[in-house]
Every structure is written in structure tokens, then in C-alpha cells.
Amino acid sequence: MDATILLFLLQDGVTNGAIYALLALALVLVFAVTRVILVPQGEFVTYGALTLAMLDLGKVPGTAGLLIVFAALALAVEVWANRRRLSLKLSGRLALFYVLPPLVIVVLAGWLAPMRLGPVPQALLAIAIVSPMGPYLYRIAFQPLSEASVLVLLIAAVGAHFSMTGLCLLFFGPEGLRAQPLITTGFTAGPLPVSGQSIAIYLAALGLMLALYLFFGRTILGKALRATAVNRLGARLVGVRTALSGQLAFLIAAAIGALSGVLIAPVTTVFYDSGFLIGLKGFVAAIVGGLVSYPVAVAAAVGVGLVEAFASFWASSFKEIIVFMLIIPVLLVRSLTATHTEDEE
């Protein structure tokens, strides 16, 4: 291996690692706030990527239809749950949350898609289409289970992953798609060509982390979300609705997933089921951080990216095996350092 290959692998690893880091952040956030281990996080990545690729082709993406499916189901669940206390006021609120956003977004998508506005507006549109599915998913699958154990929530999350992958196949078909790069220009640093897309990924990752930091540190809503994560009962006692925190966390997670999808769509061909493996690599990182530490999760994500890059160089067909077997030593260390009492659940 020469220096160029080494640098290339490093760049590749850090670029992928940045994506895994974003996903790991979302996973830690969602787990802390709702105790849901968000297995379908990867599907948001797929949705984001395929949406951008379709917009590139000037077509209305299948996710527009999916958004309507999600919103309709969420609305149905909400109406059923409130069937005894449906008032005009409540109906108006439901319309505002479950009818208006998908309607506006879908109309917008139908109108803008044929115009082919260029990579960045299309990327933003893709994120706008996918993000609302997060809170709707929470409303449909997880809010009714908010008092259930982590284990039950995890099984439900796997169920959601199963359904969402199938729906993706239905709306996008089995063929893989690839999008145009967001930034086409690149430059060379010494012997190494640095692609504009890598730069975009780094910038997006750093920008998002900064935005999250400010959101959680400075705004009352961000603090409420943190408070829910620290002490759910305490948060409820000051009037923070669990459902609100949950939907907010899922909104952020879906947006991060869609953003990640938009960022990788130009780099790799994405199939209807690609997201699962990408999301799981975010998991490996999140688990290294014990599902609680943001900084450790980010560092571990970059580590996962690097291991993957080097594994694909030396033993490409065993790449996935190596990455997922990484979790065993991590769990082993966790189990050896775990206290010998088991007081949870």
C-alpha cells in the first residue's frame, strides 16, 4: 500500500464515518428521549437518497405517495384514539398536523419536480418530503407503546423496519438509483484528489452537530427534549408532553436520516434495502457510546468508517462481516465492565 492509497482510504473512511456519525447522533437522541432503538433509521436514509435521485430525473418521487400513506395512517390512529372527545378545535389541530403539511409538501413536490431546480434545492425538497414521516411513524407505531419496555419497543422498531423496506420496494421498485453530486468541483491536496461531495459531507456533518448543540443548549424546546431524556416523569411533571418530545425526536431523526441519504446518494448506488446496513453501522457506533454518549458515538462512527474502508481494501468480500463482528468485542468490553447487579427491567 502506498501513501496515495492510504490517504484515499483515510478520506473514504472519514467521509463514510461522518455519515455514520450523523446517524449515531440521531439514534442516541431517539433512544434517550423515547427509549426506542430506531432500527428503521436506515430506511429514512434510503428514502432521502432515492427521493433525490428521482428529483434529479425530474420525476415526482415515490416518497410523496409514501408521505400521504404515513400521514393518513397517523391521522387514522389519532382520530381513533380521540374518538370520544373529537371537537371542532381538536379536528382543526389534527388537520394542521396531519393534513396540511403533507398536502403542501406533495403539491410543492409535484410542482417543483419537473423544473429540476438543481442539486441543493432538490436536496432540501427531498429532506422536506421525508422528515415529516418521522413524527408520523412515532404516532403510528410507538406512541401507543410509550409505557412499554425497551424490548417491546425494539421489536416494534424491527417491525417498522420490515414494513418500511417493503413499502420502499413498492414505491421505488427493485432497481438502484444514484443522484448527481451536490458539488461537482473538487481539488487536489498533494497527491490526493478531494471531491466536492466529501467536502459537502464534512460541512453538513459539522454544521448539523453545531445546530444540534445550539438547539439543545439554548432553546427551551431543546432543553425540554434533554429533560425528557434525563427524567421522563420529571419532564411530564413540568408539563412537557411525552408525545411532543417523541415526535420532535423522531422529526430530528428522520431529517438527519434524509440528510444522510441526500449526502450519499451521489456517492453510491442506493437500493430499496440499502439503508438497513448503513443504519446498522451507525448503531455499532451508538452502542460503543452505550447509547448515551454523543461524543463517543461520533468518534466511534469515524472509527467504523475507517475500519470499513481498510477492510474493503484488504478483504472486500468480508467487509460487512468484519464491521458487524466489531460489535462483539464492544459488547464484550461492556459486559466485563458492567456491574454484577441487574436492576433494569
Partner: protein
């Protein structure tokens, strides 16, 4: 005479098939301190939790004229109820100030700043420690923070569950003085205490709970003089007489 702020009628709470609270009725006037005393496991905490909506209960519950049935905790907070639970339930890894600010989550930003100043005036200790993490506070400070956080929401009814729990006698005295001071601001206080002697000293009216039922109630001073209550609940000292 004004209408009662809180009325419980025939409240029952069951864990599975076990009834922890059976047919409890209680009513309190606005601006008063009412205490519920009783042994460990008598159902006092269960009763408070049911009033706050943490547990489903049978019976009728009215707060400030509003009948509560399937109101969630958050809706009860919005109506002006606040509970300081036995375990305090603070946000341990957040600062004292963030804990307090979150107490005013449902109020407007300007009002929140005003409330914060008032709470700091009432609890100068909390202002000294405003940047400290709540998890690092001492037991007495934690209780003060929990009360301060509840006050940030400007409640009309403050329910306190064992505020003296695990605190040294000197600090218990401080906490009870603060409770007496709070009453002067017009907030009604429902106080659940094992430290029956202290609770009876500051309360206007008292209820005695035993095995999930109310076995006696009346003006606090009368109960404090009742020899049977003294024997059962005023503890060791009485037994030594």
C-alpha cells in the same frame, strides 16, 4: 366561604388486583395547608400520584371546579396543579437554572424570567448554585430545587410528597418554614408526611391514612392532641411515655 380547590370523592386505586387506596374522600380550601399522615405503605404516595394523574383511579376528582377524569399529567399541570414527588425527579445532568427554567416550560418567556427571579429570592441557595448540575446538590438543596421547579409553573395547588424524607432535622426545619411561607403567597398545599409531628404543626387540616383508607380527619391541632393518634403516629417518644 370559598369553594374548595381540590375535592376527592371515593377515590380508589388498584395495582393489579390489589387496592392500595380504597374509597378516600378529601377536600381542601384554597390557601390552606392540608396534610395526609400515616405509616409507610398506607397509600399516601399512591393517593397523591392518583391526584396528579400518574396512576389511573376510580372515583371523582375535582380541581378548581373542573372535573378531572382522563386528563393527562400535562393537562393537570396546565390547570395549575403541581406535584413534588417523593423521589424529586430532578434533571440530574442539567444545571440548577435549566431545571428551574424547565419548570416554567408552559409559561411565556417573559413570565419565566420573572418567576425565576422570585424563586431565587425565596431560595437564595439555588441562586448561588445556578450553574451547578442538579445531580451534585445535597439532599436539602435537591428538595428546594424540586419545590422551586414546581413553583416556576405558578401552580394554584402544590402537592408535596414527603418533603422531609432523608433530610437532617435542621434542614427539615428550613423546609417546613418555607412551606409556611409559601402559604402566604396564596398557593394551596397538600402535604404528605411520615414526620407526623412536624406536619401537624404547620397544617390547618389533617387526614390520617391507614391501609389505604382514611381513618380520621379534622383540624390539625385536634388530631395532634388525640391520644390514639399520638400513640400510633407520633412515634417513639410517645411510646416511651
Amino acid at each position: 366561604m370559598s369553594a374548595p380547590i381540590l375535592v376527592l370523592e371515593a377515590i380508589s386505586v388498584a395495582y393489579g388486583k390489589v387496592e392500595a387506596v380504597r374509597g378516600v374522600s378529601l377536600s381542601m380550601l384554597p390557601g390552606s395547608i392540608v396534610t395526609v399522615i400515616g405509616a409507610n405503605g398506607a397509600g399516601k404516595t399512591t393517593l397523591l400520584n392518583a391526584a396528579m394523574g400518574l396512576l389511573p383511579a376510580n372515583g371523582r376528582l375535582t380541581f378548581g371546579g373542573t372535573a378531572l377524569h382522563d386528563h393527562s399529567i400535562e393537562e393537570r399541570v396546565a390547570l395549575g396543579m403541581a406535584l413534588v414527588p417523593e423521589r424529586r425527579e430532578l434533571f440530574g445532568s442539567m444545571t440548577v437554572e435549566d431545571n428551574l427554567v424547565l419548570g416554567g416550560f408552559r409559561t411565556a418567556a417573559a413570565e419565566r424570567a420573572q418567576s425565576l427571579a422570585q424563586v431565587f429570592a425565596r431560595f437564595p441557595r439555588l441562586e448561588e448554585r445556578r450553574r451547578q448540575l442538579a445531580g451534585t446538590l445535597s439532599g436539602g438543596e435537591r428538595q428546594m430545587l424540586a419545590m422551586g421547579r414546581a413553583l416556576m409553573g405558578r401552580p394554584r395547588l402544590l402537592m408535596l410528597d414527603e418533603p422531609s424524607l432523608g433530610l437532617a432535622p435542621l434542614i427539615v426545619r428550613d423546609i417546613f418554614e418555607i412551606i409556611v411561607g409559601l402559604r402566604k403567597t396564596g398557593v394551596s398545599i397538600l402535604l404528605v408526611e411520615q414526620n407526623a409531628r412536624a406536619a401537624l404543626q404547620i397544617a390547618d387540616h389533617a387526614y390520617v391514612m391507614e391501609l389505604g383508607e382514611i381513618t380520621a380527619h379534622g383540624p390539625a391541632a385536634e388530631l395532634a392532641a388525640d391520644p390514639q393518634i399520638v400513640a400510633s403516629y407520633l412515634g417513639l417518644g410517645a411510646a416511651a411515655d
